[in-house]
């Protein structure tokens, strides 16, 4: 089998297992209240980490400052103005595209 197909199959099986693990393991028993509360704090912790890595992450690890940051700032302004989600995303994309065009 070719290297490509081995990669596709192994990564695919591993990802399927990783995604299923949480729901299959936890549902065995209802978690106690403090564990449950910790689980409910996973979302803000992971979302914040995604904001950071998706706006600053480089192609090969490390930091990259590029027009994504300007786009994120525009999105934040839109959020402060209570804009709906679609407008927030559009403002971020348009700003990043503009900055990329003029720099």
């Amino acid at each position: 089998m070719s290297a490509v197909w081995i990669t596709v199959i192994v990564v695919g099986l591993a990802t399927i297992a990783i995604k299923a693990a949480g729901p299959l393991l936890v549902a065995v028993r209802t978690p106690p209240p403090r564990a449950r509360s910790a689980l409910e704090h996973l979302a803000p912790a992971l979302l914040a980490a995604l904001v950071v890595t998706q706006s600053l992450g480089g192609d090969n690890g490390g930091f990259t400052i590029d027009p994504r940051l300007a786009g994120l700032a525009a999105g934040a302004v839109a959020l402060l103005l209570r804009a709906p989600l679609l407008l927030v995303i559009t403002a971020a994309a348009l700003t990043a595209a503009l900055v990329r065009l003029i720099t």
Binding site: V4, I18, K19, A43, L50, Q54, S55, G71
Partner: protein, 229 residues
């Protein structure tokens, strides 16, 4: 839609699968565009036409797929490609944990629903209390899966015809989406603390670890929720 009389207390809105599709539509455009660019990259990395599509359908995780394709294309070898991709997808461990209490039904149904988890579908399925709406997750996940896989197929066949998503600023759409979905969650002090902690852990690790590790480590910040309140 039927309007409730004003006197009644507001019921928590019941969301259906279609609401998830609708909520994911704007970010779905970006998913298609990046699916196309994954198809183009995978093709030029020598992955052929079928393998990239199979990968989009089964792995269904953009960053891991981009990493694997570019490593294979650079002649990096199977082990390096697999390790990088799996490391990037390890975050679906904690992400899956956070959905565990929301998924119902027999084990195979929960396992199948969990396959629709990607950063964006999971983010869209957030309720303001930090829990997950299963209907939103399924609707958003299916739309993104179709868009991402369809985009990949288009990319492997006709990639040269499509503009680079970065020139359209679509790479900035993702952090903005995550910020917008984080926003209503941090009104409560302990959740704000978890968010600040998660961001700080990710920032601190990014210069030293491969991509993927910072996000997994950031999930430790959820432990602020385990303190006795």
């Amino acid at each position: 839609m039927r309007r409730l009389p004003d006197a009644q207390p507001p019921e928590p809105a019941r969301r259906g699968y279609l609401d998830g599709v609708r909520a994911a539509a704007p970010i779905g455009v970006a998913a298609v565009a990046f699916g196309v660019s994954f198809g183009v990259l995978a093709r030029s990395a020598g992955m052929g036409r079928v393998a990239p599509v199979v990968m989009s359908l089964t792995t269904f995780g953009g960053s891991a797929q981009f990493a694997a394709a570019s490593i294979l294309g650079a002649g990096g070898g199977v082990v390096t490609a697999v390790v990088a991709a799996v490391l990037l997808n390890l975050r679906y461990g904690p992400i899956g944990l956070s959905t565990a209490t929301a998924l119902t039904g027999p084990w195979w149904q929960r396992a199948l629903t969990a396959q629709l988890l990607v950063d964006e579908s999971w983010a869209i399925a957030q309720r303001d209390d930090g829990r997950i709406d299963r209907h939103l997750l399924v609707g958003a996940g299916l739309l993104l899966l179709v868009g991402w896989t369809g985009g990949t197929a288009v990319g492997t066949f006709a990639g040269d015809l499509v503009a680079d998503p970065e020139s359209l600023g679509l790479d900035a759409a993702f952090p903005a989406l995550f910020l917008a979905l984080l926003w209503p969650q941090v009104g409560e002090r302990s959740r704000l603390l978890a968010a600040v902690g998660g961001a700080a852990i990710a920032l601190a690790l990014m210069p030293f670890t491969g991509a993927g590790v910072p996000i997994v480590a950031a999930s430790l910040a959820c432990l602020v929720g385990a303190r006795r309140s």
